[in-house]
């Protein structure tokens, strides 16, 4: 009797507390046809509501990892499940993935609002609903005034904001960001980091973020996954247990510095092994 009861209660607990993670990678590896090992077997789960950053040097396969999570590149081995389901389920309504790329990748021939609207147009969304969603997304990133501008008329930072608005317009359940601010100056980058952190909290987003900046990783993340190069693999996961909201004041705290030191030591040790 007791045993059965315990078993039942364990089952109930795991169902209630541990909803299926947003994305779960089991033994996922990527080898290119020419034999290059881009990513060695990786296990990683990103839970709903987390802000997970993949941190590593250039060429460690972090972008490849993100592309596999996005469904843009199939893993050579291993399995990826989104919300506990196979890839066919990703297109389901309300279970959306969105990605922000290294560059703004806006269509130069379309105005900002048409660019932001693209995912809705492709999904043949209702016109009025799409109009509202675009207006809201543009307001969210502070580009409301620039809806009718062409991308070339915007600064690099504003183009990136338009790109973020385009990702948010479908209200994605998992937002993937591949070094989105890498091409921007540090001041703009810090400001956008602040904005994205704010958006993540306000919209209860789930974010997988790729960067090579230790500071960016510490500032943004609930958890940092450190990767090392040749072949790309996960060497350590570091939780950043600091309260939100995080403002610029957080950047000059002792705990911020301590986290940065930890991460750079992990990175140094990992590259020492790899060399």
């Amino acid at each position: 009797m007791n045993i059965v009861k315990d078993g039942a209660s364990i089952g109930a607990t795991s169902l209630a507390a541990g909803r299926a993670p947003a994305v779960e990678l089991v033994g996922v590896a990527k080898t290119y046809p020419n034999g290059t090992r881009a990513v060695d077997p990786v296990d990683l789960a990103i839970g709903a509501g987390e802000f997970v950053t993949v941190l590593g040097p250039s060429g460690c396969g972090k972008s490849t990892l993100l592309r596999m999570i996005a469904g843009l590149a199939p893993p050579s081995v291993g399995r990826i499940r989104w919300w506990g389901e196979g890839f066919d389920a990703v297109g389901q309504p309300g279970r959306r993935l969105a990605m922000v790329f290294q560059e703004a990748t806006l269509m130069p021939w379309s105005r900002v609002d048409r660019n932001v609207r693209l995912p809705l147009d492709l999904a043949r969304a209702d016109r009025a609903a799409a109009d509202r969603a675009v207006t809201e997304a543009l307001a969210l990133v502070g580009l409301g005034q620039f809806a009718h501008h062409y991308p070339r008329e915007l600064s690099g930072g504003m183009q990136m904001r338009a790109s973020i608005a385009r990702a948010l317009v479908t209200r994605p359940d998992l937002l993937l960001m591949d070094e989105p601010f890498g091409a921007l100056d540090e001041i703009t980058r810090n400001r956008l980091d602040g904005e994205i952190s704010d958006l993540w909290r306000r919209r209860s987003l789930t974010v997988a973020f790729v960067t090579h900046s230790i500071y960016e990783a510490v500032f943004l993340s609930t958890r940092v996954v450190v990767m090392s190069t040749r072949p790309g693999r996960i060497v350590r996961e570091v939780a950043i247990d600091e309260p939100f909201p995080r403002t610029d004041a957080f950047r000059v705290t002792q705990s911020f510095a301590a986290h940065c030191r930890t991460l750079s030591e992990v990175l140094a040790a990992a590259s020492g092994e790899g060399a």
Binding site: G71, M99, T105, W109, L122, A123, R152
Partner: protein, 266 residues
């Protein structure tokens, strides 16, 4: 006033015009001073007079040549675009047929024009066909390149959002290809005119449907050099106007976004 403070509009229009006027004056002066006879080198004034005097004949011939040019350009655009779309559907198709497209390009039209004129009964159709062969290649190669020159990030974005093949074609590939396509049009429009003139030369058709090339041939035989120059002048003007029309069309289509059309802005 400093030399670099010259108005850019003046630079674009007045400067080449001044060069042209200077050259015409020099030409006229040389011909007059050395007493060169009209049947060797006519002066610009002679050419202008002939242009007016023979306007009926020359303008009719110009219309014939322009009609052939227009239809050849139209055919080249339609065929070239369709071929490019076929090429980008599969690498196999492109690999199989592209060498033959090059063959079309490198074969001198003068060499195959006689054959085409023999095979195709209607001479006008034969001339259009010849000019089309000359003009089609830039459209094929440029449009193919353009349809393949899609930003990778945007292509990924379309895939992630479950875009259909048609959506990707209409919303991504065609806009991406547009600047290349219009570049092809510029080259092709000039080639269509050249093709039309060359084909007319080979055909040597006179009579009712005679084009400018025939007028040049005839004028040469008759040592009517002023008329030869006048016909030549009309061909040149037609070519320049065609080119300008393409520039205008490109600006109309791409002016609002493409870099090539935004050079003047900062």
């Amino acid at each position: 006033m400093a030399a670099n403070a010259v108005n850019p509009r003046f630079m674009r229009i007045a400067a080449p015009a001044l060069v042209g006027i200077a050259m015409l004056l020099a030409w006229h002066a040389l011909v007059t001073v050395f007493g060169v006879p009209k049947y060797l080198v006519p002066s610009p004034v002679d050419v202008a007079q002939t242009l007016v005097a023979d306007w009926g004949l020359l303008s009719a011939a110009l219309l014939v040549t322009l009609r052939i040019t227009f239809f050849a350009f139209l055919c080249a655009t339609v065929i070239g675009t369709l071929v490019a779309f076929a090429f980008v559907q599969s690498r196999l198709v492109e690999a199989s047929f592209f060498p033959y497209a090059i063959l079309l390009q490198v074969t001198p039209i003068v060499a195959i024009a006689p054959l085409i004129i023999i095979w195709v009964e209607n001479i006008q159709v034969a001339l259009v066909l010849c000019a089309t062969i000359v003009a089609v290649f830039p459209i094929i190669s440029n449009t193919t390149l353009g349809l393949r020159s899609v930003n990778r990030g945007l292509a990924d974005l379309f895939r992630m959002n479950g875009a259909t093949r048609l959506q990707t074609l209409v919303r991504l590939r065609i806009p991406s290809a547009a600047p290349y396509f219009f570049g092809g049009l510029r080259i092709s429009s000039g080639l269509a005119l050249i093709g039309a003139v060359v084909a007319e030369f080979v055909a040597g058709t006179g009579g009712h449907g005679a084009g400018l090339a025939y007028q040049i041939l005839q004028a040469g035989f008759q040592l009517n050099i002023p008329r030869l120059f006048a016909a030549l002048f009309l061909i040149t003007v037609a070519g320049v106007l065609l080119y300008l029309a393409m520039v205008w069309l490109t600006r109309l289509a791409l002016g609002h976004w493409h870099e090539s059309e935004l050079a003047g802005e900062s």
